[in-house]
């Protein structure tokens, strides 16, 4: 096996060692933090731009259209043009809004998604912090975002925004349970909450294959619940443009709106990358038992490509949902969670615990 190729830990170690050689350890850490921050900021911006473009292209595919095709080759620069437009737009001042909270809300939303992205293992050895409670940290941090939505909806002093924010609150709190429980099933399988450990446990097969049917059920539940948690169609009740005009961000304009918009896409990426890490083996290549030649070829594909290919596949599926289904109603949404997904999930968790206890999984 050629585990060493495409291993980012060598690169990061090299940077670390050279920095430590050049300056005191404290400064080395500070410089490293700055580098990581800058890399993530750049990555974040580029990812946002790309996902918006991808969404528009996927949407166009679903709707018999061409999609953006004027700015740049294949419309690739369209989102940059959009960004410039949003940056130059006037920030509308809302009379009688709670100004401090109104301005704070987009930052909370975007910081929440920014914090979550830090713990995601992008490739072998490419992970900013490998916490021993990694998955727990991500679940905790992503749910901070809803506070931003609630604050934004409340502070806008608009009735539509408030309804949207309240819907969003009810929705995210409910679906948090299903997301947590379905991820718990993988934690039970792998016996660890550390993301690198979870990936290592999938070296001989992804959990979606190894974990029999219960793991597959957990994966499906995760997909549904995660879509709901990031307020995307068919669960986009917080926005629901045909009912609440634009829901919680009705009153936001310019770059503050762009923050909400960007955070939505980054959240989608986070959710998809967690699904990849937990169920689809993260950056591990696809291996099939006894197919030595096939496995060798797969090994030559860099781990970062594997990670992004899987993640974008999940993102594509989430987009596919959005552009084909009608929106649910708020009571149907909560019924789905509390009456169907949650009991199913609890049973599923017990079944998984039993399987693990008996050692029936591969």
């Amino acid at each position: 096996m050629n585990d060493h190729i495409y291993d980012f830990s060598q690169l990061t170690r090299h940077i670390d060692e050279s920095l430590r050689a050049a300056m005191s350890p404290t400064w080395a850490v500070v410089v490293e933090l700055v580098i990581i921050g800058l890399v993530f900021l750049t990555f974040y911006a580029l990812l946002g731009l790309f996902l918006v473009y991808a969404e528009r292209k996927v949407c166009a595919l679903m709707q018999n259209r061409i999609g953006p095709n004027r700015v740049g080759k294949w419309g690739l620069l369209q989102t940059i043009a959009d960004l410039l437009k949003l940056l130059t737009k006037e920030l509308v001042y809302i009379e009688r809004a709670d100004k401090f909270l109104f301005n704070l809300a987009p930052f909370i939303v975007i910081i929440a998604s920014f914090m979550a992205i830090a713990a995601i293992p992008f490739a072998k050895g490419l992970q900013a912090i490998d916490l021993n409670i990694g998955i727990f940290y991500i679940i905790a941090v992503t749910s901070v975002g809803v506070i931003g939505i609630l604050i934004g909806g409340w502070a806008s002093n608009s009735k539509y925004s408030l309804i949207g924010a309240m819907r969003s609150g009810a929705q995210v709190i409910s679906y948090e349970l299903s997301v947590g429980l379905s991820l718990l099933s993988v934690v039970i399988f792998s016996g660890s909450m550390q993301l690198s450990e979870i990936i290592r446990s999938q070296a001989d097969g992804w959990w979606i294959f190894k974990g029999h049917i219960p793991a597959f059920i957990a994966f499906l539940i995760y997909l549904v619940a995660a879509t709901a948690e990031i307020n995307r169609g068919p669960f986009d009740l917080a926005e629901a443009e045909s009912e609440l005009t634009a829901g919680f961000h009705t009153e936001y304009s310019g770059i503050k709106f762009a923050f909400f918009f960007l955070a939505e896409y980054i959240n989608m990426f986070i959710v998809a990358s967690i699904a990849t890490t937990m169920f689809l083996g993260g950056w591990l290549p696809l291996h099939i038992d006894h197919w030595a030649a096939f496995n060798r070829v797969m090994d030559y594909i860099p781990s970062i490509v594997w990670f992004f290919a899987k993640t974008f596949f999940i993102i594509y599926v989430i987009m596919w949902f959005k552009w084909t289904f009608p929106r649910l109603r708020i009571d149907q949404l909560l019924t789905l969670e509390w009456k169907y997904l949650l009991p199913l999930n609890l049973i599923n968790t017990i079944v998984i615990a039993f399987i693990v206890m008996m050692g029936w999984h591969f």
Binding site: C59, Q63, E243
Partner: protein, 374 residues
Amino acid sequence: MSEVIKNYIVRENEDYIVNMGPQHPSTHGVLRLELVLSGETVKQVVPHIGYIHRGIEKMCEYDTYKQIVHLTDRMDYLSAHINNEAVCLLVENALEIEVPERVKYIRVVLDELTRIASHQLWWSAYGMDLGALTAFFYGMRDREKILDIFEESFGSRLLHSFNTPGGLMHDVHPNFQKHAMEFVKYFRKKLPEYKQLLTDNVIFRNRTQGIGVMSRETAIAYGVTGPSGRGSGFSCDVRKIAPYGVYDQLEFEQILYEQGDSFARYMVRMKEMEQSLNIIEQAVDKITDGPFTAKVKPIIKLPEGEYYQRVETARGELGVYVVSDGKKFPYRVRFRSPNFSNLFVLNTIARGHLIADLVAISGSLDLVIPDIDR
């Protein structure tokens, strides 16, 4: 009726009052609905209209009969052709003008094409109302084919004012029959897609079934006609009950559903599109050669008296009431627009539902606001 339903706002302390409109994505025009909410539950819907009131009835009093035809386009712009026909039929009946057979069948084909185009637009917009954004593009794609047929013959796509008392403005394009038949074949193939995308979708069914139930009695009491009324089992198709033109010589069914919910109203329109295709197929074959208009005097003067003409537009029964004093301008013109009555049933059937349901219900009533305000 046992319960007295108040159509004006009665405020209580805890009520949350939201103005939906006049600029709102799902009111499809400048309609303002004042909602009294308790949480998300709608306690009352009070429609406020008049944002696009143009005084068409008053304008008609200063126009000749040929000019009035052009004003009717601007009421229900999606059934423009059928509105035109209402005035034309009224004048023709009053003056006892014998319209050529060719014209009668061309009018039927155009009526039904208009009806299909209108239903397609409604279907597209209904999908959007319920959050299925992709539906819009499928509906619009097929509607484009009809508009192309219109454009080929009349030069305009939406408000073609092609009818005139006595016949048509000019003859249709030689390809008209061919293209109409091609459209029938094309659209028959595309209708299953509509079924796959929305009709059979579980979420869609849950969002519409049992929502906004309107009993037959309510429909009659509020004068709800058209597909909305027929979804409640109210047999109100003017094409059947008081046939005009050549509808009595064509075979088609009046679609009736008994449930009276949003889904029933939806299904009536879906089935009606199929029926319209059948009508077009029959009528296209019967378009004979001949003149495109009867001989009509340049200035039409109706004999003194009152005239009433009912037609079935895509949204219900349109009544044109004309009082003539024998001059070239009518003394009084009144349009009984279907949407006017259809709108005001909203309060009765939407109360107790959620905001999302209100959108589903008002969408299923298929309102066109300029027709309400006139």
